[in-house]
């Protein structure tokens, strides 16, 4: 960061010429002693005279540092003079460009003569303006006006632009004359500059150009006139602004100008806003109707919204949809009757817009209509009504949904249950516990899913009761719900406590298996002894459930248990399941040393009874970021049956290693080369070749 002090000249972003009345603040000096002596500075300046854009900036930075250190001090005056003299010298263009950028920050009116002398020279006029556009003071404006008389081509246009940016009122006469210039680019620039100057005479000049000009000059004049009106409106001169907007709104002007003027008219209409908007909604020009609709939200007055809403029936369908949308954005309930009526519109996209608007403007009274629409319609309308049902605001809406839920027809009941979930109605849990036992299967499943989101640790025992009483798909969904809700309990508060408590009193084998499955997915260490015990249960189904539960475990903690089952079980299914689980656990992220992970894969490979199990081990090995893993995978490259998996594993491991460190060892290169030489898979070969190329 210490190079920060060197940056002013390095960067020299370009400046804006405002804030003339501000007092210049200077950066604090870097040190108490500021050795920016005139001679030293001159010497440094002389070093940059031949600077060009592709040369080192080191000397420029030194100049910048010296200016920065002198900024605000008496010696800066003399240094500024040296910079001005530099501009008059035979220094290179690039060096003068640099100095002008410096002056744009550090320059004062003292630099005006030097900079002004460059203004009429097309080759250096732009770089002079970098500085002049930013330096405050009337001397700059005088210089620009003087130069304007003599300048030609792009230099002249640049000066016009800068006068506009500086808002120089004294330039209005000269600029007004240039609006008739034979060179259209000059005329356009002059009109645009007038548009930036906050001056009555500039506005009048633009009005005149607007009426008589053609082509690009006319277009520029219309834009400039709009700017004048916007400026007047911003200053609170709404009548004057309104008069300009009205002129520009006239038929015959280009539509973008009319649209902009229409917006201005609305914004300056005061107590006649409703009248103006209604008039525009009655226009035969769609863009005018549209801008009136789009501006409605900015106005946001109840009487205006009401008046606009009343016009909805007179609009064509596309504009009706736009207006419904705008009414929703306004958020004023005065539009609700119109929006509700539009839900019965003959055009489906108007109905869709209206149904969505109900979600914003509606209240408890809309619940029935929305539920019925969701239950009876399809497609976009159903989706819109559903979304609105989820978004309707107010606590009384939740109460209404809960009130209707128990006695609703199945289709409506499903939607009401989903609403409970989407609206996050936590007090719905007791009701949902009942609907989770509903006669209708869809209602049951939706209720169980909603409970997953809404139930808390306090509800877990009741959920387990439901789980044990359920069957088939319901039980599977309930298992997921119990796991999710158990995870809402803090880790140190026994996430599996309720399930463990239910286990001893559960006699039904299927129900017991269901609980063991849940324990595996919860992954609370307190459940591990129970699952380990279950491995020795006399019931095969229980053993089976225990192996699966341990295989689902979120950490490698039960790896040894699974390895033992895989090594010693007499049940082939259990052996297979345990081996799969063991390989899965070996692949989980862990802080254990890499060699332990390697041992796990070696053990697994030694137990793999057939090709498919060996492939599974190689697949897991591919996720291990170590050279040993790559080496192990490579040892199967010559095995015809395992070759494909071995190649994939080698490439995957190598990719990960190159990503972390581009250095590729000779051994790794050899292994990758072996893959390249032996593979029949083009994609694998390309990947391996790419890795060799990437690696160093």
């Amino acid at each position: 960061m210490n190079r920060l002090l060197k940056i002013i000249a390095v960067i020299t972003v370009i400046f804006y010429g405002g804030c003339k009345t501000m007092k210049e603040k200077v950066p604090a000096p870097a040190s108490a002693a500021a050795p920016a002596a005139k001679d030293a500075f001159g010497e440094q300046l002389s070093k940059i005279k031949a600077y060009d854009f592709d040369k080192s900036r080191v000397d420029l930075i030194k100049v910048s540092d010296m200016i920065r250190e002198a900024s605000g001090k008496p010696e800066m005056k003399a240094m500024e003079k040296q910079l001005d003299d530099f501009l008059k010298s035979d220094a290179s263009y690039a060096a003068k460009d640099f100095v002008c950028r410096e002056l744009s920050v550090a320059g004062t009116e003292a630099s005006v003569p030097a900079l002004a002398s460059m203004l009429t020279d097309e080759k250096v006029s732009d770089i002079a303006r970098y500085a002049l556009e930013r330096i405050p003071g009337p001397a700059v404006d005088d210089a620009l006006r003087n130069a304007l008389r003599k300048a030609k081509g792009n230099a002249k246009i640049g000066i016009i632009n800068t006068l506009g940016v500086r808002g120089d009122k004294k330039a209005v006469d000269a600029l007004a004359k240039l609006t008739n210039d034979a060179n259209e680019t000059v005329a356009v620039a002059a009109v645009a500059a007038l548009g930036r100057i906050d001056d009555r005479m500039a506005t009048i000049a633009i009005a005149m150009v607007k009426d008589k000009a053609t082509g690009a000059t006319k277009t520029a004049a219309l834009d400039a006139y709009l700017r004048c009106a916007d400026r007047l409106a911003a200053k609170g001169q709404k009548d004057a602004a309104g008069a300009i907007y009205k002129q520009l709104y006239a038929a015959g002007e280009p539509m973008p100008i009319r649209v902009a003027a229409a917006r201005g008219m609305i914004e300056t209409a005061g107590d006649k806003t409703a009248e103006v908007i209604v008039e525009m909604l009655k226009s035969t020009d769609k863009p005018i109707q549209t801008v009136a609709i789009a501006t409605l939200k900015d106005v946001a007055k109840t009487d205006v919204i009401k008046a606009a809403a009343e016009q909805l029936v007179n609009l064509e369908a596309a504009q009706q949809a736009q207006l419904v949308c705008a009414l929703a954005d306004c958020g004023d309930k005065v539009a609700l009757p119109t929006v509700l009526a539009a839900t019965k519109n003959s055009h489906d996209y108007v109905r869709v817009a209206a149904l969505r608007a109900v979600g914003t403007l509606g209240d408890v009274s809309a619940v029935d209509m929305l539920v019925e629409t969701v239950a009876s319609r399809g497609g976009e309308e159903q989706k819109a009504a559903q979304e609105s049902l989820y978004r309707l605001r107010g606590p009384d809406v939740d109460d209404e949904i809960l009130k209707k839920l128990p006695d609703a027809e199945p289709k409506a009941k499903v939607e009401l249950v989903r609403s409970c979930e989407q609206r996050n109605i936590k007090i719905a849990v007791p009701v949902l516990m009942k609907t989770a036992k509903d006669a209708d299967a869809k209602v049951r499943i939706e209720s169980i899913k909603a409970l997953r989101a809404l139930a808390g640790p306090q509800d877990i025992s009741a959920l387990i009761e439901l789980q044990l009483a359920a069957a088939g798909n319901d039980r599977g969904e309930l298992e997921k719900t119990v796991v999710v809700v158990a995870h809402k309990t803090p880790e140190d508060k026994g996430q599996s406590q309720a399930v463990l408590a239910a286990l001893p009193s559960t006699e039904d084998v299927e129900a017991k298996c269901s609980l063991l499955s849940v324990l595996g997915k919860i992954g609370d260490e307190a459940a591990l002894p129970v699952l380990r015990d279950a491995l020795g249960d006399k019931e095969d189904k229980i053993k089976d459930a225990a192996v699966r539960a341990l295989s689902d475990w979120p950490t490698a903690a039960p790896a040894a248990d699974l390895l033992k089952v895989a090594q010693t079980s007499e049940n082939q299914v259990h052996k297979t399941l345990a081996l799969r689980g063991y390989v899965r656990l070996a692949g989980l992220k862990s802080n254990r040393p890499a060699e332990e992970t390697m041992k796990m894969y070696k053990d697994a490979m030694s137990l793999a009874a057939d090709v498919s199990e060996k492939k599974m081990v190689l697949s897991g090995l591919g996720s291990t970021d170590s050279f040993e893993a790559m080496e192990m995978a490579s040892s199967y490259l010559d095995d015809k049956e395992l070759k494909d998996e071995a190649e994939a594993a080698v490439v995957k491991i190598a990719e990960e290693r190159v990503k972390n460190s581009p250095r590729v060892s000779a051994q790794t290169r050899d292994i990758l080369q072996k893959v390249i030489d032996g593979t029949t898979n083009d994609s694998v070969r390309e990947q391996a070749q790419k890795l060799l190329k990437q690696g160093k």
Binding site: I7, G17, G18, K23, D54, D348
Partner: protein, 443 residues
Amino acid sequence: MKVNLNRRRFLKQTAGAAIGGIALPYIIPARVLGADGGVAPSNRITMAGIGLGMQGPSNMRQFLQEGDCRVVAICDIDKNNLRDGVNLVNSHYGNKDCAGYADFREVLSRSDIDTVEISVPDHWHAIVAIEAARAGKDIYCEKPLSHDLRQGRAMCDAVKRYGTAWQTGSWQRSEERFRYVCELVRNGRIGKIKHIEVALYPGHRDFAGTKGQEKIGTAPAELDYDTWLGPAPYSPYCPARVHRNWRWNLDYGGGQLMDWVGHHVDIAHWSMGLDYTGPVEVEGKGEFPVKGVWNSPTDYDVNVKYADGLTMLITSRIKYALGKEWTDESGVKWYGEKGWICVTRGGMDSEPEDVVREKIGTNDIRLYESPGHWRNFLDCVKSRKLTIAPAEIAHRSATVGHLGQIAMLLGRKIRFKPETEEIIDDATAARMLGTEMRSPWQV
């Protein structure tokens, strides 16, 4: 804080059930505009792509997928980019109808074009965008909005003046995860937010493979180099200066800082309801290269303060800011009274851990939901609703970057008045809010 890798799950999936998918509306679905599920030609939104060198093709591909959008013209001042852009469009439609232009003004003069997609270098944004607004076109424009604060203000004024539908390429707003995290923050799930850390990328990424190619030379025949420079100060051609790497020179872009404020500061602003305001104090330190054409800061810390006391660090020190062990992705981290939330494009995380699994309820504050960034633009062209990333909002996030650059360049704290967009009591800094344009260009 120590993270238990076995237990903590940095959520890489979308938040799904936790977020609760409500797609906010487009109002005139494409399907109803034409018969048989197609879109009648008269109801298609016609579009021209301006600037096909970098983000342009990617944006074009997005719009080409939309049935109610028809890309009819491509504009680029590099003949190779122009050819590739036209081919991209024609091969998609299976015809040769797409027109090619070198001059954007010719494109804007076509009355049959409704919208333009602008992916030109930053120093060109204001000119093309303001001309497009004047011509009555609706605009999709890449971020950052502007090359300097004054140009950004002029763009916003023009967009407002002409009632332009505008979408900025800050597409993270249209991503479910970013919206969800912003809703968590807005709804106080980690309490009052005191501090935000926005981690952006360091360095200069060599997108074009032209790093070090700085010898002054003649521009290739296919490139109209003088127009490429346009309003920027004159500098002779060299490959490292132009295509795909222009962002690293401050005459044309704003380095990594400006490239990314339009994404992550934008998200930070959204989360805090700061979309229409800005900071009151900004100070920063930057590491600016002293050699080479690429002179934008490679490392930076920008400290920002808002009126209510909220502070934000924008830094290139990603790991320092996000504190994540397993990624180098840029992102945002909020620190509240009750914990923290972190989001990147790859995932989200929080402390307490379950915060990023919480549901956003109906009576919670819900933010604008977009069906997809490019889709949202087209919908708003039709509905005239405000898009999810309008110009004014993009201007406010870009402003933070512009002020950060000025503060770094001056090496001191600057004070800012967001209501009037003025720098207070520092006329030198105030000079730097705008950039003079090379003649004949102006906005």
